[in-house]
Symmetry: C2
Amino acid sequence: MKDSTRSAIDGVLNVDRLVHEPARLAILTVLSQAEFAEFGFLEMACRLSKGNLSSHLSKLEAGGLVTIEKRFEGKRPQTRAAITESGRAALANYREHLKALISEVPTGAEGDQQ
Amino acid sequence: MKDSTRSAIDGVLNVDRLVHEPARLAILTVLSQAEFAEFGFLEMACRLSKGNLSSHLSKLEAGGLVTIEKRFEGKRPQTRAAITESGRAALANYREHLKALISEVPTGAEGDQQ
DNA sequence: CAAACCGGTTTGTATTGCAAACTAGTTTGC
DNA sequence: GCAAACTAGTTTGCAATACAAACCGGTTTG
């Protein structure tokens, strides 16, 4: 087994589960592209129900990857989420692991066993 | 939101959960590099306990992504796993989604909201 | 022949992702 | 002016599942 394959697999095995979950990865990805985003926007952008979005945001907040700001837009409540520095780092780190997997391990079929 | 970002996120949201789990992704990745692998080898290569490896292999088998062959090596039982065509396709597809995410969405910090 | 080892499978548990139900307030229709 | 519908979320309940620990059948070793 090649060294690069070895470390790519180790990377995969150690991914941050908080980031790895597709819904949260989507949220972080969207947030990484903007200064902040409103709840309603995230709902559509990530195709999540309000319930799921709410709970995933709570987990991301608990993990320090995003901040949640609650405010009023006129008379209506409004929630804004933003990625933190720590969140950016976690996302970047996650993406590095994926990149390693993709670039270091060939798609190829044949190879030598063990 | 850019179109490429949109489809990258859709890709992430629709990943095959059977492949997405790190332990199973590791297994499939290892199997994709060889014709087959023995249980004991997978155990080390994927840094999995026997119990976990056993149950993940069962799930992959149930999903048709790998085949399990049981035989005797001398007097001892031995299990071999191999990736199927369907498994190869699922892995390739999964990797395509990742690649799309990484290549289409910039790491960048700033951007315009919504 | 007992103890340790090999090669796994089964079982138990704690986590968690998701949907559905709920809460709290606001606007609209009549 | 008040009931019904809508907005903006949170909480709750449940089914799935990842992992560890216990277990099991057999084999080798001391």
